[in-house]
Subunit: 662 residues, 2 copies
């Protein structure tokens, strides 16, 4: 027999909630958390309920009254107002006073029992007065006396229904048997750029002013104005640490490096140091600080690569042999996927008996770079490291530096990718790179934009990466690159490209059927020559400008697909949280041919009235159309533009018939 | 930093699971519990996992190995072998040996590292030998030596892949970093009749041999052969306790009783006693025992009514005034739904400060009747009593008497009905009484037969009750009664009727638009005259016989609906757990007209091959048909039969082409 036998209110089906509340949901600063729950009690009594929320570390909860929906479902909301961690839960109780007042309204004044019924209510008010103080208490006492007094029944009924009484009885409700939901649910509140960010990846060593020279941080600084002008706000650098010599890979991933080969940046660690050192040829720590500062001046944040693996030359190999798996011959186990061997890489052993020390050191790497001004970390292959480590590491870092962002670079099985997001990654790479046709795109992005996924997984879409030159881009030419960029930039509130390979439409694979680049920058220096016929920079800048101007494109929540009678044409809309900005994208998925078809816009879900015209302003192509009803004809020539990106507006019909735009 | 940092296996999405594991699932003795879970780890290592289960009170778990499905989903099963309570959970770990053997198969014998790789495995086998004992340990040691020995590589590779080694390495797997699912999930295992039961309700006082006499238990005993012959196995009696005099209701719920009015059996409690007393005019406790015993001899269990409410004359009112709510004038609050008053009933106050004593007394009522041989309780209006009480009471009773069955008579909002099932009710009344058309029936029974509802809510379907004469039965005549019985008996593994009102097709409401019976037996004696033109007993007996012969009709899990091109014709199939018995029901929902249409049987889901004929034997109408393919024509005359109840059979095609039936 529990002590809660008299707690009659029931709370269940609380949403949002990830895996029963095991993991926090995610929001960015200023976003709303709308909580729904099934709340009810036995019998016919009235139930009252409040949403409780607080910032982590606060003792007291703030209360918001729930409003009823239908079928015992309730909702209430709060704002994720501060970067950091918040909590929410639910409190509900059977309210005897509200039950009484509801019944009182149904009673007849002539009922023989009306007198005793009024006295029941007067007692409840008198009880509440004891929970109140000062003027409230006094007023409640006087109302209680009035209700059971000697004035005419009509006046006493009126006194019982005084709106002020309703307010005060809510304030001093009898909560002695209240039920509290058995779990405090968490919210991780990130800065806004965790939701909306536009990434550019480059290899710093490739931007030397002279051919065949090793680029430096200063060279990267010279790229900043161009990158900023293209509309990117995160500059992601592959590892900038010393590169090991042992088993260094040569050009095109050759197992044998020539003496002048620069090696893969992911072969981290050499005589000069490991994860907290800088590659000597890139520059000094001062140079790096200057890069971080100058980038900030251009509205760009630097994202560091975190690749927890070591070259055989990494200092940890000698200092902490226990952090690696040792083979019976005493050698350290290199990475392998038999029969393939990656002898230039030692994976870290997360079953190490020295795991606590190891975890601290790994977290220390991130802490070190935070101290150097970095707030964004793109984590390499997190799915090959233990989940408990990530959960601990990310929450530990964010406790002190809650504005830190972690991007999970995991291309693996769906549940593994989702788990990484659940345990703390702020953003995640996606399957976008391999989703090309209408059905694939529709299914995948519908899944990502619906509960529960949308509450823990923030997609970051990449049409290419140094590891992935998708087959589609190998044959589709500049129209294909424009299309994939447009899709990434409008389907994802966060997206990124690996440049300049992307804007120059580089499309040669290392071999037919492969997705690796020929002469990949991962293994050699490249001297990029920007501009020219194949440079689609202007298009990219244009698209990024549309993103900045339209809040609908800065969130993944308001996504909806609309039918088109041509499988090569896809149509989707996005809305911002306030439903004030509505963007409709109609894209031609065929990079080779003109395609046309009838779009069937679901106007009701867009908040547009069926019977009145609405304006469609194409921010990409520049046209301005007046549409009537949902069905409209579209024709798109991939040589001209991959899509229409319409901003949708409908006149508001007001009593005075003022013409102004939503 | 937790101590589980090295536990790399992840377990999530465990099903079945009710509300995150807060409530147990339900099974009957001998049923299978199939558990599925998402189980995986970081990286490429092999994960191993077992389902753990045990009977409540056992310390040790029994293990079953999971088998992989797709996409990191696994399944394993156990039998709910004993009535009572069971538990299950999941254990998973990263298996270094199995990872090694998988990789070994991909390695080349000529690889320079093959020697050291074999030694890695040999060490793992040597470690396992330390966890083993006796002959196993010795054998493992010898295999380990063989693997890293001096014989040719080929022989050592073969030794590593010996099936016996695989078995023993599973047996002595290294589980030191195993992850255990964080919740032990519960199963309530009931007797089979919790799933499959056929109920008959009657008012004992109405079966006197002389008109206008008060019937007795002996009169009920005389009804048993008839009820057994009709195929019913539960006889449910409305309350058989003393009936209060104060505010007793007269005929047709009149607020004033005449001196000879018998009162409502739910007005429980009088001078002669309360919930543990018998109505003096029904007989003695010995008579009752005789009824229970004789019923058992006829294969019938007696179900008692448990209505936790008191007439003003109930002994508890004087002995325990604290169990009721008191009004300011000192009187006890009667039941009301303003402006309606039920002054003959005092509800129990579940917020009583004496709630622990009260709970014990209420449980004591059930315990008393269990001691008298009753194992089934039909609980009146459980939704007006506190949920925590039911959860405690039902689990307390079932701890000692696990074969006890509780039927929830709640006709209320969906979430309330489901909650009662979750907190412990074995069976539940449903909305069936008001679901008449094809869409309503399809949606409702699809919901009931799918997870999660099917795992906690066992429907018991009633075409009528003493409180409910559905509008449909008021105008549809004997064809309507036959139809509703047929639907109840085939859509529900458990169903019941209130008789003899049902088999005599009694259809007069107390007033137009009401669902109360005219001259309801709840308030007066009735002398039933069985037989005659309107008596559909034979039909009922026939349907109950079909139920007994077909396991498919004895479970609610295998239900599936099939399209028909006529909205008045519904088609559904049921299968037993072994998919050996398949019943297809095609019913005409129109009680007035012949209806016909094309049925489109989904043969694949029925396990029937599309390209070969199958037999359809109508167990209701008696026909025998050979059908080809899914589309078949149906015509039904409600004057003849409401439905076809086909048993479906298809010859098995065997190599020898033996002709035998599945």
């Amino acid at each position: 027999m529990t002590d809660h036998g008299r707690s009659r209110a029931v709370i269940e089906g609380v949403e949002p909630k990830i895996d029963g509340g095991q993991f926090p949901i995610k929001r960015v600063e200023g976003e709303v958390v709308e909580v729904q729950a099934d709340i009810y009690t036995d019998g016919h009594d009235v139930v009252e309920c409040v949403l409780l929320y607080r910032h982590a570390g606060e003792k007291n909860w703030t209360e918001v009254w729930f409003e009823p929906l239908v079928n015992d479902r309730w909702k209430a909301s709060f704002i994720a107002s501060l970067i950091g961690r918040m909590e929410y839960t639910v409190l509900a109780w059977v309210d005897r006073f509200r039950s009484w007042i509801r019944d009182l309204k149904k009673r007849s004044e002539l009922d023989a029992d009306i007198e005793v019924n009024l006295r029941v209510g007067a007692e409840l008010v008198a009880d509440a007065s004891k929970r109140a103080a000062g003027a409230d208490a006094e007023w409640l006492r006087s109302v209680s006396e009035m209700i059971c007094g000697i004035t005419p029944i009509k006046d006493r009924l009126a006194a019982a229904q005084d709106p002020r009484l309703m307010d005060l009885m809510r304030k001093y409700a009898d909560r002695q048997f209240a039920t509290k939901y058995d779990r405090d649910l968490g919210v991780v509140v990130d800065p806004v750029h965790a939701r909306f960010s536009t990434w550019y990846e480059l290899f710093p060593r490739s931007f030397a002013s002279e051919p065949n020279q090793h680029g430096t941080f200063s060279d990267v600084i010279r790229q900043l104005p161009r990158i900023a002008k293209l509309g990117f706000d995160v500059l992601y650098l592959p590892p900038i640490h010393p590169i090991g010599q042992a088993y260094r890979k040569g050009k095109n991933n050759s197992p044998k490096a020539e003496p002048d080969d620069v090696g893969s940046p992911w072969g981290i660690g050499a005589r000069e140091g490991g994860h907290t050192a800088l590659h000597p040829q890139l520059g000094t720590l001062d140079d790096f600080h200057r890069l971080v500062r100058t980038a900030r001046d251009h509205g760009i944040r630097i994202a560091m690569d975190v690749a927890y693996q070591c070259s055989p030359d990494h200092p940890w190999v000698k200092e902490h042999p226990d952090w690696f798996r040792r083979r019976p011959d005493g050698s350290i186990q290199y990475a392998e996927n038999p029969p393939k061997k990656y002898q230039d890489i030692y994976p870290i052993d997360f079953e190490s008996s020295d795991w606590k020390e190891l975890w601290s050191a790994l977290a220390g790497v991130v802490q070190y770079w935070i101290a150097q001004g970095v707030t964004i970390f793109r984590v390499d292959n997190p799915h090959t490291k233990a989940f408990p480590f990530w959960e601990w590491m990310i929450s530990t870092i964010k406790k002190k530096d809650p504005d830190t962002i972690f991007l999970s670079e995991a291309f693996t099985r769906p549940k593994v990718m989702y788990r990484l997001a659940k345990v703390g990654f702020s953003q995640s790479y996606t399957y976008f790179s391999w989703r090309n046709n209408k059905q694939e795109l529709t299914e995948y992005f519908t899944e990502l934009s619906r509960a529960p996924v949308r509450d823990f997984f923030r997609p970051n879409l990449w049409p290419n990466t140094p590891d992935i030159l998708p087959e589609f881009l190998q044959w589709s030419g500049a129209p294909g690159f424009r299309l994939r960029l447009l899709l990434a930039a409008t389907l994802g509130a966060s997206y990124g490209i690996y440049g300049p390979a992307f804007e120059l439409c580089v499309h040669q694979p290392v071999a037919p059927g492969k997705e690796e680049y020929l002469n990949s920058e991962k293994y050699q220096l490249i001297n990029w020559t920007l501009g020219g016929a194949n440079d689609i920079s202007e298009f990219i800048g244009h698209v990024n400008k549309i993103r900045k101007e339209n809040p609908a494109l800065q969130t993944d929540r308001g996504l909806q697909f609309h039918p088109v009678d041509n499988p090569e044409i896809i149509c989707y809309s996005k809305m911002d949280a306030l439903r004030q900005n509505r963007v409709v994208v109609v894209a031609n998925l065929d990079p080779n041919h003109v395609q046309s078809g009838w779009v069937d816009l679901q106007l009701q879900t867009l908040g547009v009235e069926q019977d009145r015209p609405y304006q469609m302003q194409d921010r990409l192509g520049g046209g301005h159309f007046l549409w009537h009803g949902g069905r409209n004809f579209i024709q798109l020539d991939p040589q001209v533009a991959p899509a229409h990106v319409f901003v949708m507006r409908q006149h508001v019909r007001s009593e005075q018939d003022f013409d102004y735009f939503l």
